[in-house]
Symmetry: C2
Subunit: 152 residues, 2 copies
DNA sequence: CTTGAAAAGAACTGCCT
DNA sequence: AGGCAGTTCTTTTCAAG
């Protein structure tokens, strides 16, 4: 865990909005020289706070208009069940996120499909046939908004 | 909606793993010249498929060790209820993602907190006081894995 | 689609305050 | 910590085949 000052937070905030900003642009924005801004970004990367940069793909533009969140409860629990489930779920390309959780469910999956008919196919042929699956609950996503989150 | 060939998919796949790759590196990897790879990336951006690049922040390294998913059902429904809820939830910095969903819940929230005690504070003072909140269900995240997802 | 070239900018280094 | 100067690499945009 690293100590962040206001400038670090400002840099993270700016990068959270646009990860393509370089050290020069950041420096100009916050009154630092290019090397100074660069050193701060590098320090944040090395501290592990800035863990990387990920693509934002528009599923809609790719033809995947349906996003569904699934809560899954395993029928049988135990180390083997979790490992079997996790291995099998990785083979389903429509599953974008696998979250191991504690609570009423054991796993939460974010699944994309071309349309509802396509989602039904994925659900019946891929999800419901996963090893150890017990109860399944679905929430269809209407819209999503991301926020920067607390920064230290 | 745009037509993607195998090379486009390969580029998106490589960028999904590491969004910092430039046109030069992509070209070398897939047997294209640097300008050819650059034009493809630009085309994907202009088509809206490649919607941007986002930071990956390590909440753990920032001191936020607890991530909880909340399913929230509103007690009262209607246009005003949704607008009120969405406006109020935006003011909570610990809420990183707000998903409007269809199903047993109306909203799903991804919430980060420093620890369980901090989460209890957020839940009781911020979440449970949101306008119109009915039923709340929580799942504590143990681990998360992201996968590239289907690319066309 | 390619190559080549040129301009601009970004990344990185070393030294100094 | 920050700045300045300088080198090197990449990106971006040409022109031409």
């Amino acid at each position: 865990m690293i100590a962040l000052d206001d400038t670090d937070r400002a840099i993270l905030h700016a990068l959270a909005a646009d990860a393509t900003l370089g050290a020069g642009a950041l420096g100009r924005r916050f009154g630092l020289s290019q090397p100074a801004a660069w050193r701060r970004v590098k320090r944040l990367e090395e501290a592990g706070v800035l863990a990387g940069r990920r693509l934002v793909l528009d599923a809609q533009a790719l033809g995947f208009g349906v996003t569904v969140f699934l809560g899954i409860k395993l029928a049988i629990k135990g180390r083997i069940s979790f490992e079997d489930f996790e291995r099998a779920v990785q083979a389903i390309p429509e599953v974008q996120v696998v979250q191991h959780v504690l609570g009423r469910f054991d796993y939460r999956l974010k699944v994309v499909a071309r349309d509802i008919a396509d989602f039904e196919r994925v659900l019946r042929r891929r999800i419901m046939t996963l090893p150890g699956v017990g109860q399944i609950e679905a929430n269809v996503m209407l819209s999503e908004e991301r926020r920067p989150g607390p920064l230290g």
